[in-house]
């Protein structure tokens, strides 16, 4: 019995060393300078959406928090990841609510299925504008089932609704599932990284990309912080 247990333990060690040793990269995304002023959105042409917002919401090109935190930054492993092609089975959702995309930025793995949901009382058309992947444009009236889609090539894709021109979002299609979206004070966390050398990239829709190299040797947490230079326009 005892030898059996030892054997199982040894086998586990052999088969999945990554389970035994896994590091984490975590940190904060901040900005310096003055970020672009976000304008309030006039939704009066779509009363069913306007009434969902007690005060008018603003554009989300640059979303900031306290202490210069920068939200909606996709932080991901751009080199060194070993999970390419391991498509997560769990569904992710992109919701249209109050004539807004929730989340504003949706990171996903190549070929991962995602559901587009219309929670509004108005029709939307979902019109992503890829350059590398295939462009399509679909109508989604209220009460219709989710639209299931996926992308087969990595790309940063702008999403818009032609009916409601203020609606603007992003699909970020990556070759890895080691990603996080900075929010709640600019914090991000990339757990379960097996030992190895990695390039971590932080992408912001207006301020571009930044990279950092880290090496994970065991059960450890490496601090990586990104600071973007904000511009007023």
């Amino acid at each position: 019995m005892r030898t059996n247990k030892i054997l199982v333990a040894l086998l586990t060690l052999l088969v999945c060393p990554s389970l035994m040793l896994a590091g984490t990269v975590s940190g904060k995304v901040t900005y310096t300078g003055t970020p672009a002023h976000q304008k309030p959105i006039d939704m009066s042409k779509e009363p069913s959406c306007a009434k969902q917002h007690a005060t008018p919401i603003s554009t989300e090109t640059v979303v900031t928090g306290a202490n210069n935190a920068l939200d909606n930054v996709v932080v991901y492993v751009s080199a060194g990841a070993t999970d390419e092609g391991q498509v997560p089975a769990q569904a992710i959702t992109y919701t249209q609510k109050g004539c807004q995309y929730i989340p504003h930025v949706l990171p996903m793995h190549v070929n991962q299925e995602f559901d587009i949901i219309n929670d509004d009382q108005t029709s939307h058309n979902i019109h992503p504008l890829p350059k590398v992947n295939t462009e399509w444009n679909k109508s989604q009236p209220p009460g219709t089932p989710p639209i299931k889609e996926k992308y087969d090539k990595p790309e940063f894709i702008e999403v818009k609704c032609n009916i409601h021109p203020w609606m603007h979002g992003w699909f970020v299609v990556l070759k890895t599932s080691h990603y996080d979206l900075s929010k709640e004070g600019g914090d991000f966390k990339l757990p379960n990284l097996p030992p190895g050398k990695y390039t971590i990239t932080a992408w912001h829709e207006k301020y571009g990309t930044q990279t950092a190299d880290v090496t994970i040797t065991g059960n450890e947490t490496k601090d990586v912080n990104f600071t973007f230079k904000a511009t007023a326009y």
Binding site: S123, H127, E135, S139, P141, I163
Partner: protein, 309 residues
């Protein structure tokens, strides 16, 4: 002597400075100077009925008739392109407006063949009826050389269109209800005049301003961008006009309901001679409110009949 020497020195130094400056400028401009690399004509084919088109055979026709707008490289950068609105198709991205196939898929060879023969109304794309069928087929093959998509992907499957039911005032009425429910009027306007609340903000996929179709504007034989028959209208809204704000409704309209929408859309072409306008005239020009005679059998049945859409 010394003075002349100084002037000479300055002049030579100045010349060297100017020369080096010119050299830098021309170095930057280098890609624009001299002939561009020739277009590689890949051995693409098209199949329309029993005609097989060959890209190689369309080379001179493309240069003579198409490159002026679509560009030698198929990138919509022909020398006339800057003057055109809407812009010519960019064959390098292989996104096509007029398809019988679902949104996001490549059109069939026949779709492209028909577009060349039909031209695109309200644009600068003329009706190319000067070409033989063989020439058109060759050109369909030729435009495939510009995008690698044609090598990796097959054309989409044409959508299934059920036989058209008779035009009745009920059918037109249901179509009108769908036009309201699906919010076609947001862009096309309540009378189809292209003046809906979102109309002024529309842009195509390259961010150029674009107008929604004005149904009322055409005359006795008004056409759509992608054809003029009832089947063509059916295809337009079911497959979408890719590269423009017009989405696909294939997932949200049932095939028979789609015919009702077609019948209503015809009545928006107020000057056109059509069966639909005859039926409407016979009904004294009044479309009755839609009454749902077949409410869904599910939980909705306890609602009052005639609740409509």
């Amino acid at each position: 002597m010394r003075f002349i020497g100084a002037i000479l020195f300055t002049a030579i130094a100045g010349l060297i400075f100017v020369a080096s400056f010119t050299a830098t400028v021309s170095a930057q401009d280098e890609p624009l100077v001299g002939p561009k690399p020739p277009v590689v004509v890949k051995p693409m084919e098209s199949h329309i009925g029993n005609i097989t088109g060959h890209a190689a055979d369309a080379k001179s026709d493309y240069r003579r008739y198409c490159a002026g707008c679509h560009g030698d490289y198929g990138d919509a950068n022909g020398e006339n392109a800057v003057w055109l609105d809407p812009k010519p198709r960019d064959f390098t991205i292989a996104t096509f407006k007029c398809r019988s196939t679902l949104t996001g898929t490549l059109p069939t060879d026949e779709d492209l063949f028909n577009t060349i023969g039909r031209g695109i109304t309200n644009s600068n794309m003329p009706i190319w009826n000067v070409f033989t069928k063989q020439q058109r087929a060759n050109l369909v093959a030729y435009i495939k050389i510009f995008s690698p998509r044609w090598e990796h992907e097959k054309a989409g499957t044409p959508i299934t269109i059920p036989p058209e039911p008779p035009v009745t005032i009920e059918s037109i009425s249901h179509g009108q209800a769908l036009f309201a429910k699906l919010e076609c009027w947001k862009c096309h306007g309540t009378h189809g005049e292209g003046d809906g609340p979102s109309a002024s903000t529309l842009t195509d996929s390259k961010d150029n301003p674009i107008r929604p179709y004005n149904f009322a504007l055409g005359g006795k034989d008004s056409r759509f961008k992608c054809g003029s028959t009832n089947e063509d209208i059916y295809k337009i809204f079911m497959t979408g006009v890719d590269g423009t704000p017009m989405p696909s409704f294939a997932d949200v309209i049932q095939p028979n309901d789609a015919w009702d929408l077609v019948h209503f859309l015809r009545t928006l072409q107020v000057h056109r001679h059509s069966k639909e306008n005859e039926v409407l005239t016979a009904a004294h020009g009044v479309i009755p409110p839609y009454v749902n005679k077949n409410p869904p059998p599910a939980a909705d049945t306890n609602k009052a009949p005639g609740g409509g859409q």
